[in-house]
Amino acid sequence: MLELRDLSFEVTPENGAKKEIIRNINLTIEDHSLTAITGPNGGGKSTLAKLIMGIEKPTGGQILYNGQDITNLSVTDRAKFGISFAFQQPVRFKGIKVKDLITLASGTKLSTVDACEYLSKVGLCARDYINRDVDASLSGGELKRIEIATIIARNTPLSVFDEPEAGIDLWSFNNLIKVFEDMKSARENSLIIISHQERILNIADNIIVIADGKVKEQGAAKNLLPHLLSGTGGCKFYQ
């Protein structure tokens, strides 16, 4: 279980006034659930995801994971504790191969066949990719799918996805939904997915709406979704 207590994050730009990005957020993410976090751009969703992974440090409040205070733990320690993070804009590396990255993610020695299986799950024809560098030769969409494959390979109790749909084509998006559905139906791990996509909100157990650094609404998807989508033909926060 992940618990955010009174979590705050503010930045002070040079010669500027303090800006609160996250304002006293209190949240609980239950085990074996799929939680979608949605809300307008600039509302603080990605920052919240980075605070959970430890990429940003909160300026106030606490983060508890399975009852343990992880607020001051490094990214590495949180990763070892069983938290994964899929970047909205995946990082490129010169000289690190797709297979190397998936092997690092899995934490064990992988055969080519094993590594290919993870790539196939995200809709990549594995043999074409396994020995390629994770560098500028890959398109944004390919990179994004490889990023998601690394999270599947890690198979940790908690995974945070920052806008997994961004930059992915429609065909891959259908595949992606299936990946999330499979992960959800296995009920082994918890997923937090930051998304604007109705189809991702549709498969969530719970939805949290973040706007202006605060929790605007939260609840079971089946209760919240009709009201979120009402009248606009799409998520109103997406307009």
Partner: protein, 305 residues
């Protein structure tokens, strides 16, 4: 051959035992072992230190290993190795120098390798430099490589210097005839107070000749590096040089690419980039459970692979 010499040999040539094909192993200034084949002859020079390697026309799928090892502190040597490669050959040449210096005096190996490549041949040349030792004596290597690539021939050159060499000045001078091609890949890592200089000059003299110079370098701690790449396009030709360097700690790196077109149809490009490891690369690997130091190591190893 003792344990230290065997370790050096393994590092620079990947050899656990005597190689197949032609070879000449030079240990502490003397020839330690030699083998020639029907197509490849190795002859000791009479006027100076070094050997002539003569490869007959049409020699295919053969290799020559000429490793040099120095394990005696204070030994300095200047060696001339000349390679005469005939027409229509396809050969691999593995050279390299390993120094183990456990004393306090400078150990130094300066090698001058000249290649005379005939027509329509393919030569792969691999050179590795490695130093070790627990003394205060410096390990110094100054390799000079001179390459003449004949009509329609292709020379691939790979050089690697990953650790242990305190000071190096590498000079590579090449000229290419019609339809000749040259690809050079250099990988270099310096640390401590090491200094490394790499100086390339390529003259594209023949019509449709082409070259690609690729350098990947990492400078750590207080080390310094200088990379110079000059390409002269003297005919209808294509030339490209690329220096990609990672700078860490207090290191200093200079990259000086220079391209000169002396012909209307010379197409020349240079690229040079120096920068530290991107913070987001380290963070990504940390999210996979690596520590910051492990992440750095992974990035550097991949970069130099």
């Amino acid at each position: 051959m003792d344990q230290i010499q065997q370790t050096l040999l393994e590092q620079i040539a990947g050899l656990h035992e005597l190689p197949a094909g032609a070879y000449n192993i030079r240990a502490n200034g003397k020839s330690a072992a030699r083998n020639t084949t029907a197509n490849i002859d190795i002859i000791t020079k009479e006027d100076k230190q070094g050997i002539d390697i003569k490869i007959k026309d049409n020699t295919k799928k053969e290799s020559v290993h000429i490793p040099v090892i120095l394990s005696q502190t204070g030994l300095t040597e200047m060696v001339y190795n000349d390679f005469y490669i005939g027409d229509n050959c396809d050969v691999t040449i593995v050279a390299g120098c390993g120094i183990h210096n456990s004393g306090s005096q400078e150990s130094r190996h300066d090698g001058i390798h000249s290649f005379f490549i005939g027509k329509n041949s393919h030569v792969k040349y691999v050179e590795k430099h490695y130093g070790s030792g627990d003394g205060n004596g410096e390990n110094v290597m100054n390799p000079t490589t001179i390459v003449h690539v004949g009509e329609g021939s292709f020379m691939e050159m790979e050089t690697v210097q990953i650790r242990g060499i305190d000071s190096t000045k590498r000079t590579t001078t090449c000229d290419l005839e019609k339809d000749a091609k040259l690809v050079i890949t250099e990988r270099l890592m310096t640390h401590g107070k090491q200094y490394a200089e790499s100086d390339f000059q390529v003259d594209l003299n023949g019509e449709n000749s082409s070259t690609n110079l690729i350098s990947r370098a990492v400078a750590k701690e207080d080390s310094r590096q200088l990379f110079v790449a000059k390409i002269n396009g003297n005919n209808k030709c294509a030339g490209h040089s690329e220096c990609d360097a990672i700078i860490m700690d207090n290191a200093k790196i200079s990259a000086i690419p220079e391209i000169t077109a002396n012909h209307l149809d010379a197409a020349l490009i240079h690229e040079a980039a120096i920068g530290k490891i991107a913070g987001e690369q380290i963070i990504k690997l940390m999210t996979l459970g690596l520590t910051e130091a492990e992440a750095e190591e992974q990035i550097v190893n991949g970069f130099l692979k």
